[in-house]
């Protein structure tokens, strides 16, 4: 009934789609850590611009899809910036320079700078997350985490199975709410819904674990049907991302 978002074939076979998800994850973390060292809004905006351009070209993500993923995050960023500028603590400081007067509201330079920095960072985080999500096939991610990142298999494949069950949980929740209504109970959100959902999730997990055990999961060393290998593209993405990060940080004043 409710399908999880699926990647288009062009996104999976694109250069970014073929890049090791582990590398993409490392790049995302390195960029976010790098941004933590600067307050200036320019570096995050440069990174956001680069990642969007990379998603459209190297990732072959359709502009509409990217926009649909980015719009809510960027609206939130704008909201955070406005909120920070209007209610920033620095506005109360009588010695701070005033940037603008909006009627009774006095917006100071430090409050404005802080708000822009925060908003820009949210924009960058949203862009990085959206492009990662739209160019990374879940199975590829788990294969990469297990084979290249040495993540324990039981955890990784359990997480993949749980990811596959998300649409099922959404359907279960809808059914539970409807079951309450048809029995004459008030609708809306009731704490008992969570109990019911938990019961269904545990029973589903139980059956899933039984099925996995019946097929010999965990009896010994596993082999791999889908082998993930390092390629030149991974090195290129890693080097390129490092250059972009240094260049972006250099724009800070």
């Amino acid at each position: 009934m409710i399908a999880a978002r699926r990647l288009a074939a062009s996104e999976i076979t694109s250069p970014l789609g073929r890049t090791s998800p582990l590398i993409k994850l490392a790049v995302a973390i390195a960029w976010l850590v790098g941004l933590a060292f600067v307050v200036d809004p320019r570096p995050p905006l440069v990174l956001a611009g680069v990642v969007v351009a990379a998603g459209l070209t190297l990732g072959r993500v359709a502009p509409r899809r990217l926009l649909a993923a980015l719009a809510p995050l960027w609206l939130a960023a704008a909201g955070i910036a406005v909120f920070g500028a209007v209610f920033g603590a620095a506005n109360a400081d009588p010695s701070a320079a005033v940037a603008v007067h909006l009627g009774p509201v006095r917006i100071t330079d430090p409050a404005l700078a802080g708000a822009l920095a925060l908003g820009a960072r949210v924009i960058a985080i949203g862009a990085i997350g959206a492009v990662f999500g739209l160019t990374t096939d879940p199975t590829h991610l788990v294969d990469s985490l297990v084979q290249q990142g040495r993540l324990p298999e039981r955890f990784a494949y359990g997480a993949l199975a749980a990811y596959g069950a998300i649409p099922r949980f959404a359907a279960d929740l809808l059914t539970l709410r409807q079951a309450r209504r048809i029995r004459g109970l008030r609708g809306g959100w009731h704490p008992r819904l969570l109990v019911g959902l938990l019961v269904l999730a545990i029973r589903h997990a139980d059956r899933m674990a039984l099925a996995m055990d019946a097929r010999g999961f965990g009896i010994g060393p596993r082999s791999r049907f889908r082998v993930v290998r390092w390629g030149w593209i991974d090195a290129a993405v890693a080097v390129g991302a490092a250059v972009v990060l240094i260049a972006a940080l250099a724009t800070a004043r």
């Binding site: 993949l160 209504r181 099925a211 019946a214 010999g216 049907f225």
Partner: protein
């Protein structure tokens, strides 16, 4: 896998000379292929070919031998070409064949299938059994098939083991010998048998035929005013119509079967009729009101809806609390008699957890929670699922009483025997549209029409 379950295990269980209770799990898994009832909770991976390979990866097969084994297994279950698909986008029948492929790759000596067609429509069930029949011819594997409704499994079976309600074996042996030796006892114990087998037993033993009450006259078209759907459509996602421009009017005392393949929109239409979903186009009325806007307390007495999976509608931890939830004192007085008739007497069941009941008992409990309020419109999704014959007959009798008392009954079902016995009007859905609306009697007599609607033969 006795150790995987709570409870006590006694006796000895061997597979190919291996004592199951004392062996490593991997040794058992290598000999036995298991296919479970629920397709969704046995598919592990996010792609069809990965899922087939899962069991081989666990055994450490090299890639070079996995690739041809996966392709052979997918061809054997007729899923070749779907390698890249996500399992949760397949139909229930395809999912069960995928689960079968996943256990076939390892070439198990024993194949155990636990009610593999329980969640499938007749066409999906027939396709699964066609593959099982081919595998039975091509492979040396032993098959154990657990089934309530035996029509499809019957031709495949060399031997029968029949369990009574108390879990004790009634008889065991070559199929035709068991029928000749214990036929009347099987009928008496409420075991489902193919119609011609049962007729043979009755003839050979001088038993009367089953009691079938005469069908009642249908409701005149003018009186179809209790539940009305006018040009109703519903989209779960934009552009994907689960129900597409349906007109349907049902009157008090009417008995309607909603027929059609899995995914044809039966459950969605049922939920629209009782106001659990609001149509994206068109309108639904129930006794003159929009059911999606009726306050829940009033809705519960106007309409009842039984979900396809009974586990999804349980809201309390004990059977008694579950069935008495939200009842008025006068309704509460009806509980003991209803539970007796449904084979769930409170003396034995009141304190049990709904989740520990068998599938068939859960189904009857979920129906009890609806029937106890005597709503004017009953919409039931697969009400006969998992019922042995005696409970099936009891259920038909209870529903017949309700309809005679003036309730309208709409049942989404794959059980054509149930439809023919009780539901005199059939509405067939295909891709969310009504493609037939006519007396059930005429429809079930024409196998070609049933096949065209994906509705297997009447058994």
């Amino acid at each position: 896998m006795p150790r995987e379950f709570a409870g006590t295990f006694a006796g000895r269980l061997e597979v190919g000379g291996l004592d199951v209770a004392r062996s490593a799990r991997g040794d058992v898994a290598a000999r036995v292929g298991l296919v479970f009832q629920d397709p969704e909770s046995q598919l592990v991976m996010d792609r069809v070919d990965d899922d087939v390979a899962f069991g081989l990866e666990n055994r450490g097969w090299p890639v070079a031998s996995m690739v041809p084994a996966v392709s052979t297994a997918l061809t054997e279950v007729r899923l070749a070409g779907l390698e890249q698909r996500r399992p949760n986008t397949l139909s229930g029948g395809e999912q069960q064949r995928l689960a079968l492929a996943g256990v076939l790759t390892a070439d198990p000596g024993l194949l155990v299938l636990d009610e593999p067609t329980a969640n499938l429509d007749p066409a999906g069930a027939a396709a699964l059994f066609a593959r099982l029949s081919a595998i039975r011819g091509a492979r040396a594997a032993t098959m154990v098939i657990v089934e309530h409704r035996v029509d499809l499994a019957w031709p495949l079976a060399d031997r029968l083991l029949v369990l009574g309600r108390d879990g004790r074996p009634i008889d065991e042996g070559p199929r035709d010998e068991v029928v000749a030796r214990s036929g009347p006892r099987l009928i008496e114990a409420g075991v489902w048998l193919p119609a011609e087998v049962e007729a043979g037993i009755r003839a050979a033993n001088g038993l009367a035929g089953p009691h079938v009450p005469a069908p009642r006259r249908g409701v005149a078209a003018a009186a179809r005013d209790l539940s009305c759907a006018a040009a109703v459509s519903f989209e779960w996602e934009r552009g994907r119509r689960a129900v597409d421009g349906v007109d349907l009017a049902v009157g008090a005392g009417e008995r309607v079967a909603l027929l059609g393949r899995n995914g044809s929109g039966k459950s969605t239409l049922g939920r629209l009729l009782v106001g659990l979903l609001r149509p994206t186009a068109g309108s639904v009325t129930l006794a003159g009101h929009d059911p999606s806007r009726v306050p829940p307390a009033d809705l519960a007495r106007l309409a009842g809806y039984a979900f396809q999976d009974p586990e999804h509608q349980f809201l309390r931890a004990r059977v008694r609390d579950e069935v008495e939830l939200g009842l008025r004192p006068d309704e509460r007085a009806r509980v003991p008699e209803l539970m007796d008739r449904l084979g769930l007497p409170l003396e034995g069941f009141a304190a049990r957890s709904p989740y520990t009941l068998s599938g068939g008992e859960q189904r009857r409990l979920s129906l009890a929670t609806i029937l106890v309020r005597a709503p004017r419109l009953l919409v039931l999704d697969e009400p006969t699922f998992g019922q042995d014959r005696a409970n099936h007959e009891a259920l038909v009798a209870i529903l017949r009483d309700r309809v005679d008392a003036g309730a309208a009954l709409v049942a989404a079902t794959h059980d054509l025997g149930f439809a023919a016995a009780l539901l005199d009007r059939s509405v067939v859905l295909s891709d969310g549209c009504v493609v037939a609306d006519e007396p059930t009697e005429g429809l079930v007599r024409v196998p070609e029409r049933l096949a065209a609607y994906g509705l297997g033969p009447l058994s």
